[in-house]
Point group: C2
């Protein structure tokens, strides 16, 4: 629970000396931010500024930096005053110079990167490395201590902040939201996260909406609506806004200190009310509206045009410093306006007055273990799969809903994490629809708004999160994982594309973090994509898109993993693996409709460990030499159609030797030089042969298989069937027929491709074509699939 200020009840105005110390810290941070953008020498301005001190390429964002520095300075004060455990999400992540400056000032930067020491030489390196080849990125990146949020792609800061706060009751998560970012849809929707934050079991989020008025080239919407309207908006979002603004530094420091105290007192009050007095009313959490000029304290005018307080301050306000003596003089005056000699001693170290409010140890924002979540990660208590597996006496005869079986496993994990509360399942209103409803035996759905008697499974402390926003689900889960917890995102397959760009950024984050020794591994981001392309009986074409897998597989191979378990036990095995893994993005595509079980748990574990392999029981090989044809499959529906095709071939062309191969782990198809899971060529050839026709029935877009396997020797013999954008509301079997993925078409493909078949094969082919014709007439008449399709079971 957050402590109240030691100064006693209610906000107390800071003293003049305190304001001076706050201002000194802010000036120091501003100085260091400007230095990073411009300087590659003379860091303390101990000599007059000369062109050779200036970087040849000026890159970075000044505009947002003074505002971020102000917030950091004031967060330091309240953290120190109240001994808070705090994390800050810096939405305007392009303000890297500010966050780096503060990290260096508080010492965490030098502790993480000892060569950037807290002295003149270190300051010189800090400046030079910024946005410089071989140096550090211009944004608040994984390289930045204390960060869980890059902020380059705007929109996700507030969702990340809430994700960090869930199940962290002692944590304060401050979140700076730029007024540019506030225009994005995902951010606009994120404000409603406060309806999902439990004041008892979760920490607090303090949104700080920073209105500096401009984006790259335009004013921002929220800075140009009347303050009363903005106030209504924030109240409408369920907040209690506190307004702070101005351009006179000392006055702003005073107002900001008071606003921070008011906000934190209010948070302490809310938490005490819920935790000690048992209040269950949804509280109005405080938030701060901070209005200061863009590029505040930077050049007022450059070349006769206003800069401070306009969009022109966004990046580098003075562009000609190296060649234009007037610009150079203006930069020097700007830097000296912070009075560096008052801020740093002769060795270049910050003077004690500057550091008066800087917290100690892990209380420092750059040193909080919550921003390096692997430090706090506990193993997830995953039960033995035997307790949840389905019994399979004979393949292809018993049906289960795979995701429902998985639901049992997740229920156990949810139950066994009740004490540590470090596991959540998120989804856009589809947990039950996706057959994971067993979870509600272990926890409820997080919900702080009003409830009715007819409601089911809603709970203040629920750890299933349902909201009709894939962006929120993704953002919450990312924040939760990066602060050292575990989770699963279950989504309709097609709508995973809504978070394409978010998962890009998370993959980039993980890819970079893995290369930083000080960043400890975090739990993987696990997707369960269900309600997939083949079973959109209620919804049709708009809900049919299997391309998320393609999207993910084009990203960093050290991070991405894609699994298509064909039945219930393989889904259990894959999920177990994914939940135990670290630093990956695992995409699992699995059906929720009743579908055949093929493998026992033991077989499933062995098959998933291989990732792809022959199912000997399904084929007709006699162990001598290569088969006549390979039927390969990946995904539940394609596996069913492939097995049915194998059945037909055994009946109609018994002399044909058929090999059935199932692929669970898609990356196995890649060469081992391209992905850690990739097969060597000899492994691949042993499974797929080098010269036999391979008819590959794939769950998604067929070209993915070619893209993965194009380097293989047998690639020219590979014929892939998959989804080819022929969708609508129709029967399940009609969907596969429309896309030429059905059992009859697969048999025809075999007959078309295997040379030297008996004459009889032509008649078999015709009979397959006849069934397809009969199908078309039947469904239009009856609205259901052919009885022989509905009644089929594996007869091998």
């Amino acid at each position: 629970m957050l402590r109240k200020a030691t100064t006693g009840a209610g906000p107390t105005a800071p003293t003049t000396a305190e304001v001076a110390a706050l201002d000194a810290h802010w000036r120091a941070a501003n100085y260091l931010a400007v230095g990073q953008i411009y300087l590659m020498g003379n860091p303390l301005l101990q000599e007059p500024l000369a062109p050779e001190h200036i970087k040849p390429r000026l890159l970075g964002h000044w505009g947002t930096s003074p505002g971020l520095n102000l917030v950091h300075t004031h967060l330091n004060r309240v953290i120190r005053d109240r001994d808070l455990s705090a994390l800050c999400v810096w939405g305007p992540g392009h303000g890297g110079p500010a966050v780096l400056a503060n990290s260096w000032l508080e010492g965490t930067y030098s502790e993480t990167y000892p060569d950037v020491s807290r002295d003149r030489a270190g300051m010189d390196r800090l400046f030079r490395q910024f946005s410089f080849p071989g140096g550090v990125p211009s944004h608040v990146a994984p390289e930045t201590p204390g960060s869980i949020h890059e902020g380059g792609e705007l929109g996700y800061s507030l969702a990340h902040a809430y994700g960090a706060a869930f199940d962290n009751p002692e944590l304060l998560v401050a979140c700076v939201i730029g007024d540019g970012e506030a225009e994005t849809g995902p951010l606009a929707g994120s404000w409603h996260s406060n309806k999902f934050l439990d004041p008892v079991h979760d920490g607090a989020v303090l949104p700080i909406l920073h209105l500096n008025g401009y984006k790259i080239a335009n004013p921002t919407v929220l800075a140009r609506v009347p303050e009363a309207e903005l106030d209504e908006l924030m109240r409408g979002y369920g907040h209690e806004p506190i307004h702070v603004g101005g351009d006179e530094p000392l006055a702003v420091h005073r107002a900001m200190a008071e606003a921070m105290d008011r906000a934190l007192d209010r948070i302490a009050h809310i938490q005490r009310d819920a935790r000690e007095n048992g209040s269950t009313e949804r509280p109005r959490w405080p938030m701060i509206v901070l209005r200061t000029p863009k590029g505040w304290t930077g050049p007022r005018e450059v070349d006769g045009l206003p800069v401070e307080g306009t969009w022109r301050a966004h990046q580098v306000p003075l562009a000609g410093v190296r060649t234009d003596p007037a610009h150079l003089a203006q930069l020097e005056a700007w830097l000296r306006s912070y009075r560096p000699e008052e801020l740093f001693d002769a060795t270049g170290a910050p003077r004690p007055e500057v550091l008066e409010f800087v917290p100690e140890g892990t209380r420092r924002l750059g040193a909080t273990p919550h921003a390096n979540g692997g430090l706090l990660l506990r193993e997830l208590p995953i039960p033995a799969l035997e307790e949840h597996a389905v019994r399979v006496d004979k393949p292809g005869t018993v049906l289960h809903e795979p995701t429902k079986i998985l639901g049992g496993l997740l229920r156990a994990v949810m139950k066994d994490t009740a004490a540590h509360r470090n596991f959540r399942v998120v989804g856009p209103d589809e947990t039950a629809s996706n057959r994971l409803e067993s979870l509600y035996e272990a926890t409820g759905k997080a919900w702080q708004a009003r409830t009715l008697d007819t409601d089911e499974n809603l709970a203040h402390d629920g750890r299933v999160m349902e909201v009709l926003s894939e962006h929120l689900c993704q953002g919450w889960l990312e924040g939760y994982l990066l602060t050292g917890r575990h989770g699963l995102f279950s989504s309709y397959e097609a709508f995973a594309h809504i978070v394409d760009s978010m998962v890009n950024q998370h993959i980039k984050w993980l890819r970079t973090s893995r290369r930083l020794p000080w960043r400890r591994p975090v739990a993987s981001l696990n997707y369960l994509l269900t309600s997939h392309v083949w079973r959109q009986d209620h919804n049709g074409f708009s809900h049919q898109d299997p391309g998320f897998v393609d999207h993910v597989l084009s990203k960093s191979p050290e991070v991405v993993r894609v699994y298509l378990p064909p039945d219930a036990n393989t889904l259990l095995s894959v999920a177990d693996h994914a939940l135990r893994s670290r630093d990956y993005v695992n995409v699992i595509v699995a059906g929720k409709q009743p579908s055949f079980d093929w493998l026992t748990l033991e077989e499933a574990n062995a098959h998933c460990a291989r990732g792809a392999g022959v199912w000997p029981w399904a084929g007709t090989e006699d162990g001598t030499g290569e088969p006549d044809v390979v039927l390969a499959c990946a995904g539940d529906v394609p596996t069913q159609e492939t097995l049915a095709a194998a059945d037909l071939l055994r009946q109609h062309l018994p002399e044909l030797t058929v090999r059935v191969v199932n692929v669970v782990d898609m990356a196995r198809l890649l060469p081992n030089t391209e992905h850690p899971h990739g097969m060597t060529d000899s492994e691949y050839d042993a499974v797929f042969t080098t010269d036999r026709p391979v008819i590959f029935a794939y769950h998604g877009y067929p070209w993915l298989i070619h893209r993965l396997a194009y380097r293989r020797t047998g690639h020219a013999n590979l014929h892939v069937r998959g989804y080819k954008e022929e969708g609508t509301t129709t029967t399940p079997f009609d969907m596969v027929v429309r896309n030429d993925l059905d059992r009859y078409r697969l048999v025809m493909d075999v007959i078309d491709r295997v040379p030297g078949l008996a004459v009889r094969a032509a008649a078999v082919r015709q009979s397959m074509a006849d069934v397809r014709t009969r199908h078309h007439a039947w469904i239009r008449e009856h609205g259901t699939d052919l009885p022989e399709v509905e009644e089929w079971t594996w007869s091998g």
Copy 2:
């Protein structure tokens, strides 16, 4: 300008007879909605309901339908009363049964599909075809008359509505927003669209937030916050909310009619104030909060559980109708509760009382030409490209910023559409950053919020739209195009992924529309992706992602087109083609940084018409036989590196015959059987050879080229270089070196792959490797690229 009600100033309560007529229409629509979900016979209930009248598979969404029917009924009334030109965007698009019911009632359905006549036989077909194989989709799809919005993927209704309203001053666009959809980020951000709607030149948008309280399985956030808080939220969004609610039909009809009148009077007042009195204050537009039960008038309870007014009413409330006599009886009672005999005559046609408020002709919502925008489309006045082309006397010696040249063309188009106002350019705050600032000589940036003296180019009537939301840009533009206008979306390349799922849905819409003869072609959705992966000097890794092209190219080939013009004149040529095209999604990737001009306009036009071809001047072929190697390239940076490599090869290995091929239209690489732009095999072989090494320098992920070309004879000889996720803030040339796409690496690739080279080649290869080593040291020291790279020009 919208007319006021004929009943005079101020809302007038409808008479009892009028309410009865409204209710009759609503009951008829509800009856028809239920009929579509359940019945395949006995449409008028002229005999007792029997199992054989029930569809074998019950698919569809009842829950939202009565609310949509209510809105449609009341829109009819005000359209008729005020002779409005109106369009409605149905956000809960899964309520297809409702919109189809209304379209059939008003006659537009039968006019569009004569076999579904407005009589008993037609009603029977209407019911049977719904969500039935070979029938119509369950959603408000392109097949639905009057629709521009499918609504399957929630979040975009309000943005579409605004897009339709822009530059349509006489149009009212009503927009029903479900409380589920309202939780999405894109919808939450869309409310701010009212800061961009000009009351003089644009039409009106009337948002109707329909709170039926539930999603699939959960209550909705906005239905469970106090009404006062919701009211603050809507006011904070800049609206004047009007609240209507209840569950007693006649009372709700009265309240809804009054609310509609109040809203439309207010809109008429706002428009008169702006258009006649010259008011420039941003108005508070009205909106309606409509609160009615989910599944209203459906079964109260089923099997002992509450259904009406709960989430259980979402899809099919009675599931066992075919087998459970109690369910069957309940369905019959439900259907008969609408008193169909009062609503339809013996022939099955709606009785006159039911149609009292149905408008005439194109005033009907199903018949508005705005929903079939191709009917209203005018040719865009595109000037002769000669006026904007750059002069190229010698390739590779003069530099231009390609997008800036394009800006000149766009300025001309913007200027010449000033009268018809049928062209807009949208972008997330990047129009100037992307060098299209010439546009501001022809128009301003749309902006209705407060302005300051320092602002530039803001204008109430501007037709450049800038907002920091890719979702809004995309949604606005889609709505604008589907209502028969033209436009361009300019975006940072990486962040186009933010709208991956939206473009999916738009492609699906176009793909389906193209197959419907009554849907007229609309202008293509044109993307200009710039600030691309190779030039993120300020931002680094998070801004580097060339995968939007991959995403789009996996969708329907009849719709998608991808162009990578390598210089200014080719960009002009491609843009000209894209702006003239219809029913496509055109993605153009082009740089904004100064880059070399290669082709004259005449050459550019010829090259773009071919889409891919040999640049004879760049190679060293003598016209006899095949070259030793093909250097292929696509994209501006790869083209530059390829030409520089060709330069190096000419100098260092003059005996080698080199062919340089440039690809502008990526689909040319596909077989002609897979894409309308695909080359035949003989065309491809003539360009790329069948057996020579092809070193392909590609702008994006290298596997895309393999995915496109894997069927070609020479595929085994194809070696692709591209972006492989090695990004950071560094110099432009270091970016290509990090990804092995640089000129020196390309020369090494040639030497590694061409057999039988002179012994000297090994020394050349080593010298290339040496430059790369020198590069690494140089940039870390100087922060700039090697002088020989910076100073290079084409010497051929």
